[in-house]
Structure formats: C-alpha cells, structure tokens
C-alpha cells in the first residue's frame, strides 16, 4: 500500500462535504438538514487538520504550524453553538406548527 499523504485526506474531506451538501438540499426533515450541515463542518475540520499536519510551514513558524488545528477547534465551538440554537428553533417551530417538514414551512418563501 502507498503512504497516506495530504491528497488522501483532502479527497476524503471533499467526498464527505459533497454528501453533506446533497443531504442539506435533498432532505425534508429539518433535523436531518442540521445533521447534514454537521457532516459538512466535520469535512472542513478534516481538511484543516490535514493541512495543519502536511501543509507547507509558513516562514517564521516554530517547526510546526498549528493554525489548522486551532481553526478546527473554533469550528467545533461554533458548530456546537449553532447546533444548540438551530435545535431550539426547530423545537419552537414544532411547538407552533406541529411539523418540521421544510415543505410545510414556506411562510418566508417568495
């Protein structure tokens, strides 16, 4: 088997991101759309951490570049905040309309 390099991780990240895009656009249940968005967050995190390990080291950095890992940690933080608020909105919508099917939630559609 060949050695695993940066391109392996980036192709994996692109595949997962694509599945997430498809899920976010093609599903009807709002919770599943949120789950697909989480798939996309994780795909981006894999790309960031892979570039942090295999990418070029900027001049002046001390041997190893941690920017990718720090970005991944902030994405995890923002993802957690986003999930909490989005699920709260979904619960509020469900309480009001008794459905979370996005086909029925078309009040803001022009």
């Amino acid at each position: 088997m060949e050695t695993i390099g940066l391109s392996h991780y980036l192709i994996l990240s692109a595949i997962i991101f694509t599945v997430g895009v498809y899920g976010a656009l093609a599903k009807r249940n709002a919770v599943v759309i949120l789950m697909s968005i989480e798939l996309m967050f994780n795909a981006v995190n894999i790309a960031f951490v892979a570039v942090s390990r295999y990418g070029p080291i900027p001049p002046g950095a001390p041997g190893v570049d941690l920017t990718g890992q720090i970005f991944a940690l902030f994405i995890i933080t923002v993802g957690a905040a986003e999930a909490a608020v989005a699920l709260a909105i979904i619960l509020a919508i469900y309480r009001l309309r008794r459905t979370i099917s996005i086909d029925d939630l078309n009040l803001m559609k022009w």
Partner: protein, 165 residues
Amino acid sequence: MAPGFLEPLIFYVAAAVLIIGALAVVFLPRIIHAALSLVLFFVATAGIFILLHAEFVAAAQILIYAGAITVLVLFAVMLTQQSQSLESNPFNAQGLVASFVAAATFAAILPALLAIPGKNRPGPNIDLIPELGKAMLGPWILSFEIASVLLLAALIGSIVIAKEN
C-alpha cells in the same frame, strides 16, 4: 505489524466508516437510525484526527460532537417525532437539483483542494498540546474570548427560543 503498513490500513478503515456513516445519515429511511449513524461518523472523524496527530482536536470532537451534539439531536428527534412511521427521514422534491448542485460542488472544490501544496511527509511527532495551549492564549486570545462570548450568547439564546411561551 510495521507502522508503515498500519497507517494506510487505519486510514482506509476510518475513511470507509466515515463515508458509509455520512451516506447512512442521508439515506437511511428512519431518522433515529440516521441520528445514530451520526455518532459512528463523529467517532470515525476523531480517529482520523488521531491519525493526523491532533489528539486534542480528537478529544474535543468526542466530547462535543459524539457526546453533546448527538444527545441534542436525539432529543430533538424524540421531541419532534409525530409518528412511528418507517419513512421518518424522507426526501423532498428537489432530489435532482440537489444531486446536480452536490456534483458541481465536488467538481469545484476538488481541484482547489488538490492545488494545496503539500509536502508528502508529515510534521514532527512532538507533543503538540502544550504548543496548542500557548497558541490559544497567545496569538489567538481574542478569538478565544470571542468564542466564550459566542457560547454564552448561544446558551441564553437557545433557552429563550426553546422555552414555553
């Protein structure tokens, strides 16, 4: 087993679990199965992070995604479930457009990702967690503080949105 053989093996197993888990989230007909596939996906992502020597990110991934967000999603699934029907995870009418947009996204991001100049040998295998702590409280201190304000705002905001009346 030599490490040179182990790393590709772990990568391909984790990658297979990741892709199967992601497809299961989108394509399984019952939403509770999709939500549980998401746990598998998050744990496999943590495996990829460990393979990339990002142990702290892997630990945060397990704690926050596999631990907290999964519980939130399962609670949302339980509280919004109308019936025990087989088709609780349906597709909408935009399947064709969605697959076109997804294919276009893949075609757009893949060349951009592969254009990243990577040295095909990894960085040094030193303990990065102290460096991560120094970076977090050094050059990234402003982002760190803003993240804590964001978490507080999300906490209060979700309570206000989700509570009765």
